[in-house]
Subunit: 143 residues, 2 copies
DNA sequence: ATGGGTGCAAATGCTTTGCAAGTAC
DNA sequence: GTACTTGCAAAGCATTTGCACCCAT
């Protein structure tokens, strides 16, 4: 199990792209998020650690991180902006969104992949991946 | 089982909103789509039937149709724009996206709701709804 | 040395909004 | 009569891009 940083470095090398100090700061910051984050949040986090990286570079690097399969882009209902979910080499997971607070809870479920395969096969397809979110209300949540 | 039009009319009445000719044309057009559509497609369709409705009105009405639960907003991977999926009173369904062509196939699966409930309960939640997409490749699809 | 990278500002593309005039109730 | 609606054009907002200069390899 390698660090996100070395995974990224190898990915970049394989495409003859460069491992700059901006990209290094971004991977390191990205892997500290314990929940899906927006580009803007990442930018703020970088600023807090005195990295003055432009928004353009952040967006360009996010794309590479998605290509490198270190991040998964996720769209939650409301806003139009994308969230990025760090796949820390850990198993894939999906999310439950708290309808009251917008809080995001990750969960893993072994049955989902099997279900995807089953459904895809019936349609004459082979499942490659999926997007799955549950919208829920906390039990005993007021109202 | 009522028509989408009367569902919408009742919804509007309940909120003291008006059932204008623009809104009538939009519900009627919307329910003819057999797959998720974009705002722009709806606009084109309206134009084809000689309805000169502004983009602003289309967007405003789409919002009401979502509130009325006649449409479900769906976000597919790539673009940032929303798709709208007509819930013709039929049962809820999800989608498989063809990774090659972008084609969208709807499917129904009875196990999904049970799975959502099961997962939500474990997290101390009650499942209200879900979003689920499978990304797949056609079996025997060239490469 | 050189092909890719960076910041900046302007551009993009979907969606929303302010406003003045029109219309369903 | 009076809210609510409409169309238009302008504004918003997340993201992308053109460009001149910079730097990892």
């Amino acid at each position: 199990m390698q660090s996100a940083q070395s995974v990224f470095r190898n990915f970049l090398r394989s495409r003859r792209l460069k491992f700059t100090s901006e990209r290094q700061a971004i991977v390191q910051t990205v892997e500290k998020f314990s929940r899906p984050f927006e580009a803007e949040e990442l930018l703020l986090q970088l600023r807090q650690f005195n990295h003055r990286i432009s928004k353009a570079t952040v967006y360009r690097t996010l794309k590479h991180l998605v290509d490198a399969r270190l991040l998964n882009p996720v769209f939650f209902g409301a806003g139009r902006q994308s969230y990025y979910d760090f796949r820390g080499g850990g198993r894939d997971h999906d999310h439950l969104v708290d309808v009251e607070t917008g809080m995001i809870l990750p969960f893993e479920n072994a049955q989902i992949d099997a279900l995807c395969d089953q459904i895809a096969v019936r349609l004459g397809y082979h499942a490659l991946s999926h997007r799955f979110q549950i919208i829920g209300r906390r039990t005993n949540s007021p109202r």
